[in-house]
Amino acid sequence: MSPPTRWEMFWRTVIGRAYPRIIGAQRERSWLFFETLLPLLQVSAFVFIYRAIQAPPEFTGFVVLGGAMTAYWLNVLWSMAAQFYWEKETGNLELYIIAPTSLMAILLGMAVGGIVFSTVRAAAVITVGLLIFRVDIAIVSVPQLLGVFLLTLVALYGLGMLFSSLFLLYGRQAWHLSELLQEPVYLVSGFYFPVRALGFVAALGASVIPITMGLDAMRQLLFPTMMAQFHFLDVRIELGVLAVLSVAFLWLAKRVLRYVEDLSRREGRLTVRGQ
């Protein structure tokens, strides 16, 4: 039997590591309650505020879309960035490292599994949200919408890969980074309102989180009339920025991962538990 090529090993690793996430979600059905109904409560709170102040009905759509995208953000923070911390604690990390595969393939596998899992959650939130709150959408361009959505995910999970390399080195200390980012990003990325409300400079700064422009562009493509007055940048520009962020984060993640792996090996931190 001939040894596998690097390419074969890479893709087998991606599939292998994605498997537990996809299968695990099917075997632990409790997520249906925790991951779908609970986020809807938060969405509902914002919907009722907008209704109480008689905001245009499109704002309900903004909130439902933002609520759906929280699935990805939480997944990136806690199941991508923080994942190596858990893997280290359970002893999986050292097995990943001594395997002849690439850590990027492991991370990509986690990302693919996480995207599949989070998409089910996001789809459930959107479907239930649209049905309960009767949101009307008018899609401007399906290809553009798909393009924005996919690029947002690529850039977002690229950022998650970048964060995860920090966890290789810092372990529990990096935990605070995730905690620090979770709630503020809901605010600065405009999960429940158009990000332009923050002002141009703040919105531009927040755009380093890919979900900021992703949400803005998707809202423009789903609710064109209302977003005409609230949009941040033109959809094509946002698509371009998302493409740049995707490439930049993936490239950086690869470089940083290699650097941090070497540094952790030198400092003896790869297998230190309870850090």
Partner: protein, 343 residues
């Protein structure tokens, strides 16, 4: 480096530098490995024997590319572990004692398949090997069980299968039977022996602090303590070093302060003691038979009662005691015991 050598180290060292706030005055460095030289030919089952903290796991971590050395060199399968860790990984796998790897929601079979994917093994080959190996370790009936339902022993059997599944050229077994019951340990030792005997080109580096495990399995054994290799030879040759000495094992009712009791006596080359089931077990390496009588008298004077006395052939433990001046903690019952050395 000769390609016939599976593993070679030259002056291999690892020093941990502690941060100022973590270090006591004058103790800012911990030497985990001190200039270790080893040569392990291809096809050998090599044992590394030493107490906890001796440097065994540090050495394995360096050889498996998990830790960088701070001095010296190490080659695995002819490849420098510091220069080219990625190439080393194509030749190795590792199983550690008390390992809790894998994902609880997946079955035994699925976990093993997943790890096989990281080595690029195609699905059909992986499934065939998994089935064969699970049969051998007696876990085939649990193939469809989620691993959070497995006992510690079953889990370790699965870990063994994971390590051997990739058919590595060089396998590192780090305390592989740690904490397992007698039957499971025996099954796994038999498995290792069988695997090596059928594959003469494979090399196994086994670390253990169980003397009988090293004695039973290994072609050669290195005794390591405080990061230094003290002796390296076949178990038979190591034991022959003590052929002139007389070795006794005594079990007595609990004795207070054995060091003070036996230290003044002549003719004792080394001794160690451990508390076992509320009694004291004493190992003596004596110059000759004449040294025994004063020991028995000392026990009597200390109000101790002799329960059993056994004269026996040297074991690896005696070799260890003769080299290090203290015994190895063999089981939980003796954990926390103190060992001493007469002057």
């Amino acid at each position: 480096m000769s390609t016939e050598l599976a593993i070679k180290t030259e002056q291999l060292s690892r020093v941990y530098r502690m941060k100022k706030r973590e270090a006591r005055a004058g103790a800012r460095e911990i030497i985990a490995l001190a200039a270790v030289d080893l040569e392990i030919p291809r096809g050998e089952l090599f044992g590394l024997l030493g107490p906890n903290g001796a440097g065994k796991t540090t050495l394995i971590k360096i050889l498996t590319t998990l830790l960088a050395p701070t001095g010296g060199h190490a080659w695995v399968a002819g490849v420098d572990v510091a220069q080219n860790p990625w190439e080393v990984r194509r030749h190795i796998n590792m199983v550690s004692g008390g390992e809790s790897s894998g994902y609880g929601l997946l079955t035994v079979e699925e976990n093993l398949w997943m790890f096989a994917q990281f080595y690029g093994i195609d699905g059909k080959t992986a499934r065939r090997r998994i089935q064969e190996l699970l049969e051998i370790v007696g876990l085939a009936d649990r193939a469809k069980t989620k691993i959070y339902h497995l006992s510690t022993g079953m889990r370790q059997k699965m870990n063994f299968v994971r390590g051997f599944l990739t058919d590595p050229g060089i396998l590192f077994l780090d305390e592989p039977t740690l904490g397992l019951d007698v039957q499971t340990s025996r099954t796994l030792r038999a498995f290792i022996k069988d695997w090596v005997s059928k594959r003469p080109d494979k090399t196994v580096l086994l670390t253990t602090h169980y003397m009988y495990e090293a004695d039973e399995l290994c072609n050669r054994v290195a005794i390591i303590n405080d990061g230094c290799i003290l002796a390296c030879d076949t178990p038979g040759n190591l034991k022959r070093r003590l052929r002139r000495e007389v070795i006794y094992r005594l079990r007595v009712t609990a004795i207070v302060d054995p060091e003070n009791l036996f230290q003044p006596l002549r003719g004792i080359q080394r001794f160690s003691h451990a508390k076992v089931d509320g009694q004291t077990e004493l190992h003596f390496i004596l110059k000759d038979e004449n040294a025994l009588a004063p020991i028995l008298m000392a026990i009597q004077h200390s109000q101790g009662e002799l329960i059993s006395l056994e004269k026996r052939d040297p074991t690896l433990e005696d070799v260890f005691i003769s080299l290090v001046g203290r015994g190895l903690v063999e089981d939980e019952g003796s954990a926390g015991s103190t060992e001493g050395e007469p002057g």
